[in-house]
């Protein structure tokens, strides 16, 4: 009863200014635009160095010289770099036109759209899996420091952080598909197909979360305010889960956010190993077939997704720590 009441107070007190939150989010989203243009510029420039003539790639090596020249003109490849870049951005902004895939000859946007759900599901389940085992086990490990379970968790998490994702995926396939035949080695015809990919990208990531949770909890448990709470007779589990964990969550969330890039990287591997039709495997396909428009568009999309997650992390900060909230949302 008490908890419910205090929770209510906290919620109302914390996000009192709904308008302010919207304002803040809008501001952050606007700030995202230059970053994304920067990302596009960076990738555009890098891919510019890709050896080979795109027109030749599209038409094949045996195509006549005139046809190649004609296509180059048509694609605007003869124009200066800066003009092509601004044209690219202009088309994205005005008509969501990310260009045409050199591999499939479809608009890139159309190639990407059907792949989004797969990647989003994988990333979401991966982060959920990693958080759900990383944080509670990290707390357990810290609270029972130097106990048997702490030692086991420490060893396992330390090793998992050092495991290459593709190798973990291979071991899983070997164990659960080849020998036990419990799970399919690839495809996402049902949710069962997600189990191994999620473990693949969530395992090492969750271990990183476990390790940071453990070390921050160990630090928090030694803080003065924890001693105050014990001195006023608060039960141990409340001290751990309410006082220490809430404070420890800040660095933990930072780690979750910062390593989210790693989970996206991991999902590229997982999609590729388990042949999932996601954006990650599209990037690989694009790179292997030198399909530059597809690569640029996919990377842009992933960067956008990444940035949104980071924004969510920042908002969570304000939700957890009133000091940060006071900094962001000054007027109350």
């Amino acid at each position: 009863m008490y908890n419910a009441i205090s929770c209510n107070i906290m919620l109302v007190g914390r996000f009192g200014g709904g308008v302010l939150v919207i304002k803040y989010v809008t501001k952050r989203l606007l700030l995202l635009i230059p970053i994304l243009i920067g990302v596009a510029f960076l990738i555009f420039t890098i891919m510019e160095f890709t050896p080979g003539d795109p027109a030749v790639k599209i038409l094949g090596i045996e195509a006549p010289q005139e046809a190649v020249e004609q296509l180059r003109e048509q694609l605007g490849l003869n124009r200066p770099f800066a003009v092509r870049f601004f044209d690219y951005i202009y088309k994205i902004v005005t008509r969501l036109d990310f260009g045409m895939s050199w591999r499939t000859k479809n608009p890139v946007f159309m190639d990407i759209i059907p792949r989004i759900p797969v990647s989003a599901t994988l990333a979401f389940l991966g982060i959920a899996f990693a958080t759900l085992f990383g944080i509670p086990l990290g707390v357990l490990s810290a609270v029972k420091q130097y106990s048997k379970s702490d030692n086991v968790l420490r060893v396992v998490s330390t090793i998992l952080v050092a495991v290459p994702t593709f190798w973990l995926a291979m071991l899983l396939i070997l164990a659960f598909s080849s020998y036990l035949a419990w799970l399919p080695a690839g495809g996402v015809h049902s949710y069962v197909g997600y189990i191994m990919p999620v473990i693949t990208c969530g395992g090492p990531y969750g271990s990183a979360i476990l390790r940071i949770t453990r070390s921050t909890m160990l630090e928090e448990i030694r803080q003065d305010y924890v001693r105050t709470a014990r001195a006023k007779g608060v039960p141990n589990n409340i001290i751990i889960y309410k006082h220490a964990l809430q404070n420890a969550l800040l660095p933990v969330i930072t780690t979750i956010g910062q390593n989210f890039g790693a989970i996206l990287g991991g999902s590229v591997v997982a999609e590729s190993v388990f042949s999932l039709p996601g954006i990650g495997s599209l990037v690989i396909l694009g790179i292997k077939s030198k399909d530059t428009p597809t690569v640029i568009a996919s990377v842009l999309l992933i960067a956008f997704f990444f940035a949104i997650v980071m924004l969510a992390v920042d908002l969570m900060y304000a939700f957890i720590d009133p000091r940060i909230k006071a900094k962001y949302f000054k007027a109350e």
């Binding site: 230059p34 970053i35 994304l36 920067g38 990302v39 510029f41 960076l42 990738i43 890098i46 891919m47 510019e48 160095f49 890709t50 050896p51 330390t158 090793i159 952080v161 050092a162 495991v163 290459p164 994702t165 593709f166 190798w167 291979m170 071991l171 396939i173 070997l174 080849s178 070390s215 160990l218 630090e219 890039g261 790693a262 996206l264 990287g265 590229v268 591997v269 590729s272 990037v283 690989i284 790179i287 292997k288 030198k290 690569v295 990377v299 992933i302 960067a303 990444f306 940035a307």
Partner: protein, 302 residues
Amino acid sequence: MILQALKNNKNENKKNITDGRRKSMWKEIGKRMIKDKPSLISFIFIVALILVSIFANFLIDVDLVTAQNGAERIQSPSFAHWFGTDLYGRDIFARVVYGSRVSLSIGIITVLISTSIGGLLGAVAAYFGGLLDDIIMRVTDVVLAIPEQLLAMCVVAAMGATPTSVIAALSIAVIPTRTRLVRSTVLGIVDTEYVEAARASGMGNIGIIVKEIMPNTLGPIIVVSTQGIASIMLTASSLSYLGVGIQPPTPEWGAIIFEAREFLRLAPYMCILPGLVIVVTALAFNLMGDGLRDALDPRLKD
């Protein structure tokens, strides 16, 4: 004149004191490292691995790495072939040993490049602030907006799949993280009293950066760099495995597994054993980093 001499004398004294303290500090850290068994073992393993990779040609015949031998294709691990042989009858253990040259150098060189460039940018950004800081940090933001592995993949795709371009690609991807780390560490130091004292005693910008700031940022940088070698090796091997990094027949660890992936069911040892080597090596670098961190800041331990 006398005043000047006095001042010099004083500086001399101060320098000796700080040097002495630094020496004993590193000694202390060394002692703590030796006490910590996992990091000691890791350190020995890493040194041994580096030695093996340097002297690989004295230990194992180069022919074993490249020569194809139809008679000994796909053989399970045995006394003759510790890790078995691959599709072309090459000794996998020999390939892994020679592969350590590629994999280790990628890890170590990338860390050296990214730490020195990133560290310099970070220190400059933090120390001078203003427009320079803004520019450096905005560029950093852009690069960091792309997941490390994806960025590296793109760079390799553009530059060609050679070890050099993999190193360049990973460096580009890692530099911003080091820039940020050093910038925030330096920002914490710039405002401290000892930097103020150095400035008050007439030390120039470069002197302060070299003598006061760099030694004090060294701790976190060493820890992150040690663990960075592990994560870079993992990323590099992932690139090879995805077929967008170093290409077979170069005996890079990830590439060795890439070649063997079709045989996962038929001859699992081909994938598992080289992978185990990657895990153990990455683990050693991570544990050594952990040990260094605890040694640098023993407060965190109990």
